[in-house]
Symmetry: C2
Subunit: 399 residues, 2 copies
Amino acid sequence: MTIGPGMRKTALPKGFRVSGVNCGVRRYRPDLGVIISDRDAVGVGVYTQNEYKAAPVLYCQGITPSDGIRAIVTNSGQANAATGPTGVEANARMAASVAESLGCRSTQVLTASTGVIGTPMEIEKIVASIPELLARATDSAEAFALAILTTDLIPKTVTTQVELSGGSVCITGICKGSGMIHPNMATMLGYLLTDATLSVEVAQSCLREAADLSFNMISVDGETSTNDTVFLLANGASGVSVTSESDLVLFQSALVELAQILAQSIARDGEGSTKLIEVELNGAPTQELARQAARGITISPLIKAAIHGEDPNWGRILARLGADGIPGDSLDQLTLAIQGIKVMELGVPVLFDRAAARARLKGDTVNITIDLPGGEGSAKAWGCDLSQKYVVINAEYTT
Amino acid sequence: MTIGPGMRKTALPKGFRVSGVNCGVRRYRPDLGVIISDRDAVGVGVYTQNEYKAAPVLYCQGITPSDGIRAIVTNSGQANAATGPTGVEANARMAASVAESLGCRSTQVLTASTGVIGTPMEIEKIVASIPELLARATDSAEAFALAILTTDLIPKTVTTQVELSGGSVCITGICKGSGMIHPNMATMLGYLLTDATLSVEVAQSCLREAADLSFNMISVDGETSTNDTVFLLANGASGVSVTSESDLVLFQSALVELAQILAQSIARDGEGSTKLIEVELNGAPTQELARQAARGITISPLIKAAIHGEDPNWGRILARLGADGIPGDSLDQLTLAIQGIKVMELGVPVLFDRAAARARLKGDTVNITIDLPGGEGSAKAWGCDLSQKYVVINAEYTT
């Protein structure tokens, strides 16, 4: 897989172009982006399970799945959540304005918003900028990736080619997210684009599995947003179909890997983060408990603060596993390693060199592996450390 | 109610004495305490629901409820959790040593521990100090309240007299807790002492209700400890029984009020805390949802950080309520006030003076009131703000 994060140029699948401009809602940085497919694309989405959904989420839920998507327009700075009927109207105008310029119907344009909740949308600025936005469309992902950022420090893109029986297809992913990250089903904003030909049903099931193994297993702060959305657009421009079982396996595994890379990039760029935390948990009584307990480690402020302090404080990991429902008799047989150093083996604390352990925690990635006896449940989750900077960022964000 | 927090002298109920000394586990500060009843007391407990329970919790669960309790011995600095069979043995020796000095059976002595998880108990130091500990017993609560503190800054005691039909009884409460605070059923360490005469059954139900409305509704960091315990001892030394329905109501309401004062004192003294957050939520579809959503506000790092920054960032409150399961159609009718300033009324954002709101957030207590339409569920919860100091404390605690 060719990973294209950061400011390097990231290729788009055939038939897609993207753009990003500053429309004047935010100062000095792009705040409006669009993804355009030059032909009708299969478009599916997975959306936040927060009961309080933003206007664009409600709108897109009504449109997808679809086989006629032509564009996704996204603004940053204002979330269009808790904005009432005027927010619904603003969202409809954003879609209609793009549709008019492209010469398609409004229902062929998806929308997403990210930013402060409860602020009225400055829709006139957005609508006025759409002609320029569309005119600037290019064939690399960066302009769009930059336009959707909020407190993120790093644009997040990745692209890969998958060799299928009928030829090669491209998948490109773009996402954003840094705070209010604890996706439940979807996440932050994610855009997966491919020039493969997929049916609506296959697209939906591929997206759901990819989201479950990636975006749904990251957490920055345990907060589920009102706007979380991941889209998958498949426009068939490669002329290559994903139909056989073996092609589906190849395509699906590439999509999962790509989604996991994007998800990790969000956790690593979490607000105030200095380290990526990777948790691998095996042997839980059930799959659901494995997922819950692995995610529990990544949202524990005590564990996150200890890792920030490069402190192998393993007692907090045990306490958290017990709090999240791993049975006590299972914990009595647990083997736990931090950065490959065993701190507990089959339930017995291991005497380890604390200075050496601290040294291994100095890197920018920290692995925690948990082996429980017997069960079938296993999961991987990703998070980040908790720093003083997280508090500073979030004590000062709106005002 | 006479509140006796801090360093003022706090009276104990008749027939109780307490003590605290330094046994040498911690430097320069008391780390071993005991509560003694001069006669057999009814003793009940509520304990952590963490699956990974400390040795003293497992021990006390085997002894309570009891009508023959004579003492509770508690050490701070070492939690006696994740300590294996040697921890179980150390706990038994701690109880036996107190029992021997008092001339009673081991099963008449309860135990509790608080401190670092996974550190072996320095039991020889503890046992060697027990004669001096017992010799120093006095009739005010402070020596014990100080001996059980860990990262707490303030000892927490409260006492009250309740006038019952048969005469006056005294209830005194002592507790500790500052981090790893998100009790599930019990909490941190809490000790409620009374000279009233209670049956075991009445004591157990009084304690459970008091804990549910107080300790179980506070959170500092969403972490459920391995050691959470609240005890209630009733030794009958006042000669006044709680038997009639009206006496029971008086006694129970005094116990709840006292437990709530103690619980609030823990939240206010949460690690790094500068403000107490009080959440009152009314009109949820169910009582359980009300409790969950009210607590959700108190564990949200984004809301806690905003309050630390004295920022009336109400959108985060809406997002959290939706994430914690309050139905969307209910949120569409919500009225929300922060420090008495309405920011949303019947689902519509209210234009409010942001500077004035910020000024009202400068105090050491912040009220959030949430009114939903129609439902019967209501709850109060308490928490604290999230400061940079929380991170500093927990990045540095063990090493």
